[in-house]
Amino acid sequence: MLELIVDNRYTLTAVILFVVGLGNMMLHPNLIKKVVAFNIMDAATFLLLASRGFIEGRTAAILTDGGANVALYVNPIPAGLVLTGIVVSVSVSAFSLALIQRIYGSYGTIDMNELLEIMKKKGE
Protein backbone atom coordinates (compact mmCIF):
# COMPACT_ATOMS: atom_id res chain seq x y z
CA MET A 1 0.00 0.00 0.00
CA LEU A 2 2.70 2.44 1.08
CA GLU A 3 4.70 1.53 -1.98
CA LEU A 4 1.71 2.25 -4.19
CA ILE A 5 1.32 5.65 -2.57
CA VAL A 6 5.00 6.47 -3.03
CA ASP A 7 4.88 5.32 -6.63
CA ASN A 8 1.89 7.49 -7.34
CA ARG A 9 2.93 10.50 -5.25
CA TYR A 10 2.61 13.04 -8.06
CA THR A 11 -0.74 11.73 -9.15
CA LEU A 12 -2.10 11.80 -5.61
CA THR A 13 -0.79 15.33 -5.01
CA ALA A 14 -2.36 16.43 -8.25
CA VAL A 15 -5.71 14.96 -7.26
CA ILE A 16 -5.69 16.61 -3.84
CA LEU A 17 -4.66 19.97 -5.30
CA PHE A 18 -7.36 19.67 -7.91
CA VAL A 19 -10.05 19.18 -5.31
CA VAL A 20 -8.60 21.98 -3.17
CA GLY A 21 -8.98 24.29 -6.15
CA LEU A 22 -12.43 23.00 -6.95
CA GLY A 23 -13.67 23.38 -3.39
CA ASN A 24 -12.25 26.87 -3.03
CA MET A 25 -13.79 27.88 -6.29
CA MET A 26 -17.18 26.82 -5.01
CA LEU A 27 -16.76 28.17 -1.50
CA HIS A 28 -14.86 31.44 -1.59
CA PRO A 29 -17.01 34.54 -1.87
CA ASN A 30 -14.04 36.69 -2.92
CA LEU A 31 -13.86 36.85 -6.71
CA ILE A 32 -10.07 37.26 -6.86
CA LYS A 33 -9.64 34.19 -4.67
CA LYS A 34 -11.91 32.31 -7.01
CA VAL A 35 -9.51 33.13 -9.84
CA VAL A 36 -6.60 31.95 -7.69
CA ALA A 37 -8.48 28.75 -6.92
CA PHE A 38 -9.09 28.20 -10.60
CA ASN A 39 -5.38 28.57 -11.21
CA ILE A 40 -4.63 25.99 -8.50
CA MET A 41 -7.03 23.63 -10.21
CA ASP A 42 -5.31 24.12 -13.53
CA ALA A 43 -1.85 23.74 -12.01
CA ALA A 44 -2.95 20.42 -10.51
CA THR A 45 -4.06 19.25 -13.91
CA PHE A 46 -0.72 20.22 -15.37
CA LEU A 47 1.09 18.32 -12.63
CA LEU A 48 -0.93 15.22 -13.43
CA LEU A 49 -0.19 15.66 -17.11
CA ALA A 50 3.52 16.32 -16.65
CA SER A 51 3.89 13.27 -14.42
CA ARG A 52 2.51 11.16 -17.28
CA GLY A 53 5.36 12.14 -19.56
CA PHE A 54 8.35 11.37 -17.39
CA ILE A 55 10.30 8.14 -17.92
CA GLU A 56 12.93 7.10 -15.40
CA GLY A 57 16.48 7.83 -16.54
CA ARG A 58 15.73 9.74 -19.73
CA THR A 59 16.20 13.38 -20.72
CA ALA A 60 14.10 16.11 -22.29
CA ALA A 61 13.03 15.64 -25.88
CA ILE A 62 15.52 18.01 -27.49
CA LEU A 63 17.20 15.79 -30.04
CA THR A 64 20.97 15.80 -29.93
CA ASP A 65 21.46 12.87 -32.27
CA GLY A 66 18.69 13.53 -34.78
CA GLY A 67 16.37 11.02 -33.14
CA ALA A 68 18.52 7.97 -33.85
CA ASN A 69 18.07 6.52 -30.38
CA VAL A 70 14.45 6.81 -29.31
CA ALA A 71 15.16 5.32 -25.88
CA LEU A 72 17.07 8.43 -24.79
CA TYR A 73 14.14 10.83 -24.49
CA VAL A 74 11.01 11.24 -22.41
CA ASN A 75 7.51 11.45 -23.81
CA PRO A 76 7.11 14.88 -25.48
CA ILE A 77 3.31 14.87 -25.79
CA PRO A 78 2.43 15.94 -22.22
CA ALA A 79 4.89 18.84 -22.42
CA GLY A 80 3.12 20.18 -25.48
CA LEU A 81 -0.28 19.75 -23.90
CA VAL A 82 0.85 21.54 -20.73
CA LEU A 83 2.05 24.44 -22.87
CA THR A 84 -1.38 24.69 -24.45
CA GLY A 85 -3.05 24.42 -21.07
CA ILE A 86 -0.91 27.18 -19.56
CA VAL A 87 -1.69 29.58 -22.36
CA VAL A 88 -5.40 28.87 -22.00
CA SER A 89 -5.34 29.40 -18.26
CA VAL A 90 -3.40 32.68 -18.62
CA SER A 91 -5.97 33.96 -21.10
CA VAL A 92 -8.89 32.99 -18.93
CA SER A 93 -7.29 34.56 -15.85
CA ALA A 94 -6.69 37.81 -17.74
CA PHE A 95 -10.28 37.88 -18.89
CA SER A 96 -11.73 37.21 -15.46
CA LEU A 97 -9.46 39.75 -13.77
CA ALA A 98 -10.52 42.42 -16.25
CA LEU A 99 -14.12 41.52 -15.54
CA ILE A 100 -13.52 41.78 -11.80
CA GLN A 101 -11.89 45.17 -12.26
CA ARG A 102 -15.00 46.40 -14.04
CA ILE A 103 -17.28 44.92 -11.41
CA TYR A 104 -15.28 46.64 -8.69
CA GLY A 105 -15.55 49.84 -10.65
CA SER A 106 -19.31 49.70 -10.87
CA TYR A 107 -20.26 48.09 -7.55
CA GLY A 108 -17.35 48.91 -5.26
CA THR A 109 -16.94 45.38 -3.91
CA ILE A 110 -15.65 42.02 -5.06
CA ASP A 111 -17.40 39.89 -2.47
CA MET A 112 -19.89 37.58 -4.15
CA ASN A 113 -22.38 37.65 -1.25
CA GLU A 114 -22.43 41.42 -1.08
CA LEU A 115 -22.76 41.63 -4.84
CA LEU A 116 -25.69 39.23 -4.84
CA GLU A 117 -27.37 41.27 -2.11
CA ILE A 118 -26.91 44.46 -4.10
CA MET A 119 -28.34 42.75 -7.16
CA LYS A 120 -31.30 41.49 -5.17
CA LYS A 121 -32.07 44.94 -3.81
CA LYS A 122 -32.04 46.42 -7.24
CA GLY A 123 -34.49 43.72 -8.25
CA GLU A 124 -32.51 42.32 -11.09
Binding site: L4, I5, D7, N8, R9, Y10, T11, L12, V15, I16, F18, V19, V20, L22, G23, M26, L27, S51, R52, G53, F54, I55, E56, A60, A61, I62, L63, G67, V70, Y73, N75, P76, I77, P78, A79, G80, L83, T84, V87, V88, V90, S91, V92, A94, F95, A98, Q101, R102, Y104, G105, S106, G108, T109, N113, E114, L116, E117, I118, K121, K122
Partner: protein
Protein backbone atom coordinates in the same frame (compact mmCIF):
# COMPACT_ATOMS: atom_id res chain seq x y z
CA UNK B 1 -28.89 51.42 -21.84
CA UNK B 2 -28.33 52.15 -18.20
CA UNK B 3 -31.24 53.49 -16.28
CA UNK B 4 -30.96 56.64 -14.31
CA UNK B 5 -31.31 55.09 -10.90
CA UNK B 6 -28.26 52.99 -11.62
CA UNK B 7 -26.24 56.06 -12.49
CA UNK B 8 -27.46 57.81 -9.36
CA UNK B 9 -26.46 54.78 -7.41
CA UNK B 10 -23.05 54.85 -9.06
CA UNK B 11 -22.65 58.41 -7.84
CA UNK B 12 -23.51 57.26 -4.36
CA UNK B 13 -26.72 59.26 -4.09
CA UNK B 14 -28.97 56.32 -3.56
CA UNK B 15 -28.33 54.02 -0.66
CA UNK B 16 -27.55 50.71 -2.23
CA UNK B 17 -24.15 50.33 -0.68
CA UNK B 18 -23.31 48.07 2.19
CA UNK B 19 -22.73 50.83 4.73
CA UNK B 20 -26.31 52.00 4.54
CA UNK B 21 -27.37 48.41 4.95
CA UNK B 22 -25.58 48.19 8.29
CA UNK B 23 -27.22 51.42 9.44
CA UNK B 24 -30.60 50.00 8.50
CA UNK B 25 -30.09 47.00 10.65
CA UNK B 26 -29.39 49.06 13.73
CA UNK B 27 -32.75 50.77 13.40
CA UNK B 28 -35.13 48.04 14.33
CA UNK B 29 -38.24 49.22 12.55
CA UNK B 30 -40.69 46.50 11.41
CA UNK B 31 -40.19 47.29 7.74
CA UNK B 32 -36.50 46.58 8.06
CA UNK B 33 -37.11 43.40 9.96
CA UNK B 34 -38.09 41.46 6.84
CA UNK B 35 -34.82 42.55 5.36
CA UNK B 36 -33.00 41.11 8.34
CA UNK B 37 -34.97 37.91 7.87
CA UNK B 38 -33.95 37.81 4.28
CA UNK B 39 -30.35 38.26 5.24
CA UNK B 40 -30.62 35.43 7.72
CA UNK B 41 -32.15 33.29 5.03
CA UNK B 42 -29.28 34.11 2.72
CA UNK B 43 -26.70 33.25 5.36
CA UNK B 44 -28.49 29.99 6.10
CA UNK B 45 -28.46 29.20 2.40
CA UNK B 46 -24.76 29.99 2.35
CA UNK B 47 -24.16 27.63 5.26
CA UNK B 48 -26.04 24.79 3.60
CA UNK B 49 -24.31 25.47 0.33
CA UNK B 50 -20.92 25.58 2.04
CA UNK B 51 -21.54 22.32 3.84
CA UNK B 52 -22.65 20.69 0.65
CA UNK B 53 -19.59 21.95 -1.22
CA UNK B 54 -17.25 20.64 1.48
CA UNK B 55 -19.01 17.29 1.45
CA UNK B 56 -18.75 17.06 -2.33
CA UNK B 57 -15.06 17.99 -2.21
CA UNK B 58 -14.25 15.39 0.45
CA UNK B 59 -16.22 12.77 -1.44
CA UNK B 60 -14.37 13.66 -4.60
CA UNK B 61 -10.97 13.43 -2.93
CA UNK B 62 -11.82 9.97 -1.63
CA UNK B 63 -13.19 8.70 -4.94
CA UNK B 64 -10.35 10.17 -6.95
CA UNK B 65 -7.64 8.88 -4.59
CA UNK B 66 -9.08 5.39 -4.44
CA UNK B 67 -9.47 5.05 -8.16
CA UNK B 68 -6.29 6.83 -9.13
CA UNK B 69 -4.14 4.46 -7.10
CA UNK B 70 -4.45 1.99 -9.98
CA UNK B 71 -3.18 4.61 -12.43
CA UNK B 72 -0.17 3.49 -14.48
CA UNK B 73 2.97 3.96 -12.38
CA UNK B 74 4.91 7.21 -12.53
CA UNK B 75 8.12 7.10 -14.54
CA UNK B 76 7.78 3.58 -15.87
CA UNK B 77 8.56 2.74 -19.49
CA UNK B 78 5.57 0.45 -19.74
CA UNK B 79 3.03 3.26 -19.34
CA UNK B 80 0.32 3.11 -21.97
CA UNK B 81 1.27 6.67 -22.83
CA UNK B 82 4.64 5.52 -24.16
CA UNK B 83 3.43 4.00 -27.37
CA UNK B 84 4.07 4.13 -31.08
CA UNK B 85 3.00 7.79 -31.24
CA UNK B 86 5.89 8.83 -28.99
CA UNK B 87 8.32 6.72 -30.97
CA UNK B 88 7.16 8.29 -34.18
CA UNK B 89 7.43 11.81 -32.78
CA UNK B 90 10.89 11.35 -31.32
CA UNK B 91 12.18 9.21 -34.15
CA UNK B 92 10.96 11.18 -37.14
CA UNK B 93 10.36 14.71 -35.88
CA UNK B 94 13.71 15.84 -37.23
CA UNK B 95 13.16 14.42 -40.70
CA UNK B 96 9.50 15.30 -40.99
CA UNK B 97 9.39 18.77 -39.47
CA UNK B 98 13.00 19.92 -39.38
CA UNK B 99 12.78 20.63 -35.65
CA UNK B 100 15.23 19.24 -33.14
CA UNK B 101 13.00 20.37 -30.33
CA UNK B 102 10.44 17.59 -30.60
CA UNK B 103 7.89 19.54 -28.58
CA UNK B 104 8.01 22.50 -30.95
CA UNK B 105 7.72 20.11 -33.89
CA UNK B 106 4.80 18.37 -32.27
CA UNK B 107 2.73 21.40 -31.28
CA UNK B 108 3.36 23.33 -34.48
CA UNK B 109 3.13 20.57 -37.03
CA UNK B 110 1.59 17.29 -35.91
CA UNK B 111 -0.91 18.93 -33.59
CA UNK B 112 -0.83 22.38 -35.15
CA UNK B 113 -4.57 22.82 -35.21
CA UNK B 114 -4.69 22.66 -31.42
CA UNK B 115 -2.02 25.31 -31.25
CA UNK B 116 -3.91 27.49 -33.68
CA UNK B 117 -6.91 27.20 -31.37
CA UNK B 118 -4.67 28.10 -28.47
CA UNK B 119 -3.40 31.25 -30.21
CA UNK B 120 -7.00 32.12 -30.88
CA UNK B 121 -7.73 31.79 -27.16
CA UNK B 122 -5.02 34.37 -26.48
CA UNK B 123 -6.41 36.57 -29.21
CA UNK B 124 -9.92 36.25 -27.76
CA UNK B 125 -8.65 37.13 -24.30
CA UNK B 126 -7.15 40.36 -25.61
CA UNK B 127 -10.37 41.15 -27.42
CA UNK B 128 -12.35 40.59 -24.23
CA UNK B 129 -9.98 42.74 -22.18
CA UNK B 130 -10.28 45.46 -24.79
CA UNK B 131 -14.04 45.13 -24.76
CA UNK B 132 -14.07 45.53 -21.00
CA UNK B 133 -11.36 48.06 -20.29
CA UNK B 134 -10.92 50.06 -23.47
CA UNK B 135 -12.04 53.48 -22.30
CA UNK B 136 -14.10 54.62 -25.27
CA UNK B 137 -16.71 56.44 -23.22
CA UNK B 138 -16.73 58.46 -20.04
CA UNK B 139 -18.37 55.76 -17.97
CA UNK B 140 -15.48 53.34 -18.18
CA UNK B 141 -13.00 56.19 -17.72
CA UNK B 142 -14.75 57.30 -14.56
CA UNK B 143 -14.84 53.76 -13.25
CA UNK B 144 -11.26 53.29 -14.24
CA UNK B 145 -10.01 56.17 -12.17
CA UNK B 146 -11.30 54.43 -9.09
CA UNK B 147 -9.32 51.30 -9.64
CA UNK B 148 -6.39 52.02 -11.91
CA UNK B 149 -3.18 53.69 -10.95
CA UNK B 150 -0.15 53.80 -13.12
CA UNK B 151 3.07 53.08 -11.29
CA UNK B 152 5.38 56.09 -11.21
CA UNK B 153 8.92 55.13 -12.15
CA UNK B 154 11.06 55.46 -9.03
CA UNK B 155 14.81 55.73 -8.91
CA UNK B 156 15.76 52.13 -8.15
CA UNK B 157 13.29 50.73 -10.62
CA UNK B 158 14.31 53.00 -13.46
CA UNK B 159 18.04 52.55 -12.89
CA UNK B 160 17.79 48.77 -12.74
CA UNK B 161 15.33 48.76 -15.61
CA UNK B 162 17.70 50.68 -17.83
CA UNK B 163 20.38 48.10 -17.11
CA UNK B 164 18.21 45.03 -17.59
CA UNK B 165 15.92 45.90 -20.50
CA UNK B 166 18.39 45.35 -23.35
CA UNK B 167 19.49 41.99 -21.97
CA UNK B 168 15.94 40.77 -21.52
CA UNK B 169 15.13 41.88 -25.05
CA UNK B 170 18.08 40.05 -26.56
CA UNK B 171 17.37 36.98 -24.46
CA UNK B 172 13.78 36.96 -25.71
CA UNK B 173 14.84 37.22 -29.33
CA UNK B 174 17.36 34.45 -28.78
CA UNK B 175 14.72 32.11 -27.33
CA UNK B 176 12.32 33.00 -30.10
CA UNK B 177 14.69 32.31 -32.96
CA UNK B 178 16.17 29.15 -31.52
CA UNK B 179 12.83 27.61 -30.62
CA UNK B 180 13.08 24.79 -33.12
CA UNK B 181 16.54 23.59 -32.16
CA UNK B 182 16.69 24.21 -28.41
CA UNK B 183 14.35 24.71 -25.46
CA UNK B 184 12.09 27.67 -26.12
CA UNK B 185 9.86 28.67 -28.96
CA UNK B 186 7.11 31.06 -29.79
CA UNK B 187 5.25 31.06 -26.52
CA UNK B 188 8.20 31.36 -24.16
CA UNK B 189 10.14 33.73 -26.42
CA UNK B 190 7.09 35.87 -26.98
CA UNK B 191 6.37 36.19 -23.30
CA UNK B 192 9.97 37.18 -22.51
CA UNK B 193 9.80 39.78 -25.26
CA UNK B 194 6.49 41.00 -23.91
CA UNK B 195 8.01 41.22 -20.45
CA UNK B 196 10.85 43.33 -21.79
CA UNK B 197 8.42 45.76 -23.40
CA UNK B 198 6.45 45.96 -20.15
CA UNK B 199 9.66 46.58 -18.23
CA UNK B 200 10.54 49.31 -20.70
CA UNK B 201 7.14 50.89 -20.14
CA UNK B 202 7.59 50.73 -16.37
CA UNK B 203 11.07 52.19 -16.54
CA UNK B 204 10.60 55.02 -18.99
CA UNK B 205 6.87 55.61 -18.54
CA UNK B 206 4.21 54.49 -20.96
CA UNK B 207 4.59 57.67 -23.02
CA UNK B 208 8.00 56.49 -24.16
CA UNK B 209 6.57 53.13 -25.18
CA UNK B 210 3.74 54.90 -26.96
CA UNK B 211 6.26 56.37 -29.36
CA UNK B 212 6.95 53.05 -31.03
CA UNK B 213 4.21 50.77 -29.73
CA UNK B 214 1.11 52.57 -30.88
CA UNK B 215 -2.31 51.06 -31.31
CA UNK B 216 -1.62 50.74 -35.01
CA UNK B 217 1.57 48.77 -34.45
CA UNK B 218 -0.19 46.63 -31.84
CA UNK B 219 -2.95 45.76 -34.27
CA UNK B 220 -0.62 45.11 -37.17
CA UNK B 221 1.62 42.76 -35.18
CA UNK B 222 -1.29 40.88 -33.64
CA UNK B 223 -3.25 40.45 -36.85
CA UNK B 224 -0.32 39.71 -39.13
CA UNK B 225 1.03 37.08 -36.73
CA UNK B 226 -2.27 35.25 -36.55
CA UNK B 227 -2.98 35.63 -40.25
CA UNK B 228 0.40 34.18 -41.21
CA UNK B 229 -0.40 31.23 -38.97
CA UNK B 230 -3.94 30.83 -40.29
CA UNK B 231 -3.10 31.08 -43.96
CA UNK B 232 0.01 28.93 -43.83
CA UNK B 233 -1.62 26.27 -41.76
CA UNK B 234 -4.82 26.40 -43.81
CA UNK B 235 -2.85 25.73 -46.99
CA UNK B 236 -0.90 23.01 -45.21
CA UNK B 237 -4.07 21.28 -44.04
CA UNK B 238 -5.62 21.52 -47.48
CA UNK B 239 -2.54 19.97 -49.07
CA UNK B 240 -2.22 17.31 -46.40
CA UNK B 241 -5.84 16.21 -46.51
CA UNK B 242 -6.03 16.11 -50.29
CA UNK B 243 -2.70 14.34 -50.72
CA UNK B 244 -0.93 17.18 -52.55
CA UNK B 245 2.84 16.84 -52.28
CA UNK B 246 4.84 19.81 -51.01
CA UNK B 247 7.64 20.56 -48.61
CA UNK B 248 5.77 23.20 -46.69
CA UNK B 249 6.17 21.01 -43.60
CA UNK B 250 9.89 21.71 -43.40
CA UNK B 251 9.78 25.42 -42.80
CA UNK B 252 6.32 25.67 -41.23
CA UNK B 253 7.76 25.26 -37.72
CA UNK B 254 10.18 28.18 -37.89
CA UNK B 255 7.78 30.63 -39.53
CA UNK B 256 4.85 29.79 -37.28
CA UNK B 257 7.09 29.96 -34.22
CA UNK B 258 7.98 33.53 -35.15
CA UNK B 259 4.35 34.39 -35.84
CA UNK B 260 3.26 32.97 -32.49
CA UNK B 261 6.06 34.87 -30.76
CA UNK B 262 4.83 38.16 -32.19
CA UNK B 263 1.26 37.39 -31.17
CA UNK B 264 2.27 36.50 -27.62
CA UNK B 265 4.44 39.58 -27.24
CA UNK B 266 1.76 41.99 -28.36
CA UNK B 267 -0.80 40.17 -26.23
CA UNK B 268 1.30 40.46 -23.09
CA UNK B 269 1.92 44.14 -23.58
CA UNK B 270 -1.74 44.62 -24.53
CA UNK B 271 -2.87 43.12 -21.21
CA UNK B 272 -0.53 45.38 -19.25
CA UNK B 273 -1.51 48.46 -21.14
CA UNK B 274 -5.25 47.96 -20.97
CA UNK B 275 -5.08 47.14 -17.30
CA UNK B 276 -3.07 50.20 -16.38
CA UNK B 277 -4.53 52.95 -18.54
CA UNK B 278 -7.39 51.47 -20.55
CA UNK B 279 -5.78 52.25 -23.87
CA UNK B 280 -2.62 51.78 -25.81
Amino acid sequence: MIDKSFLRWLDGEEGYGLNTELKDNKVNSPAKKSKADEKEQLSRFNKIYGGLAVAISVLMVVILCVSIITFPTYGSVSNPANNEVVERYVGSAHDETGAENVIAGMILNYRGFDTFGESCVLFLAVCCVMQLLWATDDKIKAEGEKSKREAKPDLILSTCGKLIVPFVLVFGICILFNGHISPGGGFSGGSVLGASVILFAVTYGSKATGRFFTKRVFNIIRISGLMIYAIMFGVYIYQGANGIQSDLAHYIVLVIDLAVGLVVMSTMYGFYSFYTKGDL
